[in-house]
Each structure stands twice: as structure tokens, then as C-alpha cells.
Symmetry: C2
Subunit: 296 residues, 2 copies
DNA sequence: GCAGCATGGTAAGTCTTCCTGATCATTTTA
DNA sequence: TAAAATGATCAGGAAGACTTACCATGCTGC
């Protein structure tokens, strides 16, 4: 019942009126003039009414054509808008990525990654939030964010994970601590010192060093409080190297050599659901960026 | 650069999500299932991104697809709206006609014409205004109205006229006037009576009866005033039969037989410009209506 | 007045697009 | 495990759209 109006013939009508003739329209649309004539004739047959006056050699709109013109113009404009937006979205010139990352990654890695990303894809909106590793995984699963960067704990059904880098665990203490200055440590050397647990301490679980955390009675989750404690010389703690804030002059990081503990940092996304173009671009960018950095 | 999005493939995408699958969409659109697959694939290639998840046997939108869906839906809805409105306008189910007519036609003929017209084309808006014959012609020329119904004076370049009916000129007088009751008159019989001129008196110009109006010293343009004068017995006048209001019981109309004077009532429209669908329908309706009435 | 140049319309041939019918690979259901 | 249903793929044919070439008409300038 409803005739299917194609966009091109409508564009022809607009071009004819705007350019003032069939020939001019043809040149403007990079078509031959008969193509324009035929498109118009076909459209007129579809509508059952003439759009242009016949007979006189000029291209004049009929009243019906005048009535149609603004509607056609609107529809074509709408089409072009959708086409343009869709194209931009598909080609990573627009869009939005929501990312979650563990605090260490968010503060140490993301700034560099995002700097180059925004310069490469200026149109993409980015939202970055941090949370501890389980929270990150949960947000990805629930779809609150498209990408998560966190420690890879155990493989989960609903998640697809890509390893990004290894982050070694070490001991953090004040620079006047007896252990400071060593270039590596055995876990047994820590016994006897006050160990402050933190959110990353569970990385020791399952290793010989788990013994240490069992005997620790201090737990500080907030990183700022933790560093304050360490700077005050209250005790020592274990941290992945990434989580260690180098800008604290009085603190130093000593890798744990025995057991050699690393946390695997990886990129999470929902399994089975493909990413939005913007997120896919971000994922690729993160991987490229880290691989590049590794090579340096 | 901008890909030309055709409406049908977009409709396919909507149908797939709404009907919950390619097969269901195919049935819904009266197409074969491969047609749907191919339309989607083509669209995806055009956009450079997938709209549906691949691999798992189900039709699930990708995030990009989800982003596109509402935009596609809007565009298709817009298309259908334009298509529907255009169709309605073209098939006389909607639209607008502006008409001008001389007062006699507006009050005596138009009511009957418009009654049947509005019942046949309920969607068409109508505007009717009256004015003397030259004004009607001017309004048509200026494009203020599309159609005019008036006395055909002299053919004009810018106007295309179609004769509709003949309207004979006669004498109007009070029922106790010596001339009342006659079934026709010779112009000479009027001499000696007080003749009141009116807007239609110039129809006598160029005929032997022109002599009469030259000696008349009363001119009344307003029809209500004129009839009041006639009812008061102040004098007689000449009028086309259509302009004679039969509902005035004390007035009677006597045709002028010598000279036999008629005014030609005709339909005017601008030359060289075709009518809007609604106006074309009205024009046809007016002609049909009067031809039908003539036959009765 | 007539040649030359513009307008748009028409016809035949070619190329592309779109659709169908049959068939396949995979997953879900009984 | 057989059967049914999903979507993907391929070959062939119908329909559309575009191009080249030509025609009819109206205006313009000498």
C-alpha cells in the first residue's frame, strides 16, 4: 500500500529545484541527465501525481511538488544525519567507552593510555572508574562497563580475559628499614617485622608466604592511609609493583624473590557479546600501547 | 563518503529484533529468509560493523546494533510518515483548496457543491471567499486562491477559463409593479421606470439596453440595500438570475428577451501552473456537479 | 529567418542489485 | 540420537538503474 520512497530519487528532486534544472542536477549528482529524468518519472508514477510541470521546457514544481519539497528535504536530511552518525560511530570517530580498572592500573597505566587514545580518537567519550578487582569483574559482568582491567583471578564463565602484563609482588618499607636497599628478599626474612595487610595481600594466599598474612593483625584498605603508616615506620607491607607509588621518596620497594609472586593484569570483557566500536578500539589500543611499552 | 542507507534493509533489522529472528522477520516482510540475511550482511558491510552477533544460532544485536536500532526505527518511522502523508495528499484524502467566487455563486451554487465535496473528500480543507468578478480574477492571478468562479469577462493571458453555465439577465421589480408577472420583456419597455444600477449592470454595456443604464442615476452596490430599495418600490433593477434571491416573496424576476443577455459563469485557474491534487479534485467536482444538475 | 545552443524526453544495451530456491552447518529440542 | 529450527551460502534469474546516443522543442543572436 505504502510506496517505498528511496532516498536517491528524493535527492534528485531536491537537486533539480536547488540547481535549477535537470542538467544542473545531473552534474551535481554525478549522474547523466536521463538518469535524473527517469528517477523523477518513476517517483511521480509511484506517487500518482506529477512533481514537475510538463511541456514548458523549464523545471517548475507543481503545487503538489511544492508541498512535497520540504518534506522530502527533511527526510533526506534525517537520512544523512543517521548515516553520518552511524558512520562516525562505526569508524571510531564517535562513541563512548566505559572502563573499570583496579586503582593501581587506573592511576599508573591509564593516564598514559588515555592520553594517546584521546589524541587518536578525539570524538570518543570515555568514562573510567576504579574499584578492587572483584568489583571490576562484577561491573563487566553486569554490563555497567564494557572493559575491565584488573588482576586475573580465576577464569570465569561469563568473562573473556586477555592477559596484559605481569606485576611482581614485593615488600614496601621505609628507607631506613633494615630490609630497605636489598634487591630481593625471601619471605622468611619478613617474619618478626610488623606486616600491614592491604587489599592486595590476598595475592599471597596459596603461596608459602601466606603464613605471613595469617599472623598480621593490621589491615588498611585505603592506599593513602597505608602509605602514611609506612612513612611513619609503623610496619611494612606487600604490594604489587604497580601499586607502589614511587613518588613517596622515603618508601622503597624490594621484590620478593622466594616465592616469586606475580599478579597477572588482564583485560576483561563479557563473553559472547561483541564490543561497541569504541570499546573495541580502546581494547586494541590498550593492548598495542602495553606491547609497545614492553618492547622499550 | 556517506553510505546511502536504503529503507528496506533497515526495516529488516527492525523486523528481526521485533519478531525475534531471521525466519520470523522473513515471514513478516513476505520475503525469503536468505533475502533477510543478505540485506543485513550488505548493510553491515556498508557500515563496516556487525549489527548482529555471529556464531551463536540466535539473532542478538551487538552493542553497535543496539546503538543503531532506535535511530533506524526513527528514520523508518519518518519515512513511513512522509510516504503516508504524500500518498494521502496525492490521492485527495488530504490537502487544501482556496476558492474565490462572485457572491451570487458563493451563496447560491457553492453550498450544494461543497456539501457533496466534503462528503466525498472528508480530509480536504476548504476556504471560500467572495468578491466581485474582477477581484476574483485578480486573486487567481496573484495565486491567493487556486480556483475562481466568476463571470467570464474577456479572456486573459494569465488565466485559463472553463465555461460552467449561462446565467440570463432579467429585470427585478416588486410584485405590484406593472411589469411583474410578464414572462419576458423588451428593453424599451423599461424606459420610463426608475432603474437602479448595481454591480452587475455593466453586463448591459455593449448591448442596446446600455441606453437604460446611461439614464439611471441610482447606483447601489450592496445586495441587501438593493433588495430593500426594490421592496420599498423605489424602482427596478437588472440582475442575473443567479443573483436574484428567490426568498424575497415580494420581488419577482422577469427575463429580458430583447436583447437576450447572459453572463457566462466560468471556472478560472492560473495558466501554465497545474493544480494541487485537492484543487484538481475540486475543479473536477464542480464541473461534474453542474453538468449533473443541468441534466435534471 | 535560420543556425546554434539550451532545455528535457525517449530508446536500446549493459551492469548492478535484489530475490528466490535449494542446500549446508550448527544448535536446540524431543 | 533423531528431528526441528536456527542462520549462512551459493547459483540463477528477474527487476532496476545507469549510460550512450538520439529526438523534440524553445530561446538567442546574427
Amino acid at each position: 500500500m505504502l510506496p517505498e520512497l528511496k532516498i536517491q530519487p528524493l535527492r534528485c528532486v531536491l537537486a533539480i529545484t536547488d540547481q535549477g534544472g535537470f542538467h544542473a542536477a545531473a552534474k551535481h549528482l554525478y549522474r547523466s541527465q536521463p538518469a535524473i529524468s527517469m528517477a523523477v518519472r518513476d517517483l511521480e508514477e509511484r506517487l500518482g501525481q506529477s512533481l514537475f510541470e510538463k511541456g514548458n521546457g523549464k523545471a517548475l514544481l507543481t503545487p503538489f511538488g511544492q508541498w512535497c519539497l520540504p518534506r522530502f528535504r527533511e527526510l533526506v536530511a534525517h537520512h544523512d544525519r543517521v548515516s553520518h552518525d552511524t558512520q562516525a560511530m562505526a569508524s571510531h570517530q564517535a562513541g563512548r567507552v566505559d572502563i573499570a580498572a583496579v586503582p593501581s592500573v587506573a592511576s599508573r597505566l591509564m593516564p598514559g593510555i588515555l592520553t594517546s587514545f584521546v589524541s587518536e580518537y578525539p570524538g570518543i567519550e570515555i568514562s573510567l572508574q576504579d574499584g578492587h578487582s572483584e568489583l571490576v569483574a562484577q561491573m563487566v559482568i553486569k554490563g555497567e562497563v564494557e572493559l575491565g582491567i584488573t588482576s586475573l583471578w580465576q577464569p570465569q564463565e561469563a568473562l573473556e580475559s586477555t592477559p596484559l602484563l605481569h606485576d611482581e609482588i614485593g615488600v614496601v618499607c621505609r628507607d631506613d628499614h633494615p630490609l630497605a636497599g636489598r634487591d630481593h628478599l625471601h619471605w622468611r626474612e619478613l617474619s618478626g617485622y610488623t606486616l600491614i595487610r592491604n587489599g592486595t595481600s590476598r595475592l599471597l594466599v596459596g603461596s608459602p608466604a601466606a603464613e605471613l598474612v595469617r599472623h598480621s593483625s593490621l589491615f588498611i584498605s585505603n592506599m593513602i592511609s597505608l602509605t602514611a603508616m609506612l612513612e611513619a615506620g609503623i610496619g611494612i607491607t606487600t604490594l604489587p609493583r604497580l601499586a607502589f607509588q614511587e613518588e613517596h621518596a622515603r618508601l622503597c620497594f624490594v621484590p620478593l624473590a622466594e616465592p616469586l609472586l606475580v599478579r597477572q593484569i588482564g583485560l576483561l570483557c563479557r563473553a559472547g557479546v561483541s564490543l561497541s566500536p569504541a570499546a573495541a578500539a580502546m581494547r586494541q589500543h590498550v593492548m598495542d600501547h602495553l606491547r609497545e611499552q614492553e618492547e622499550c
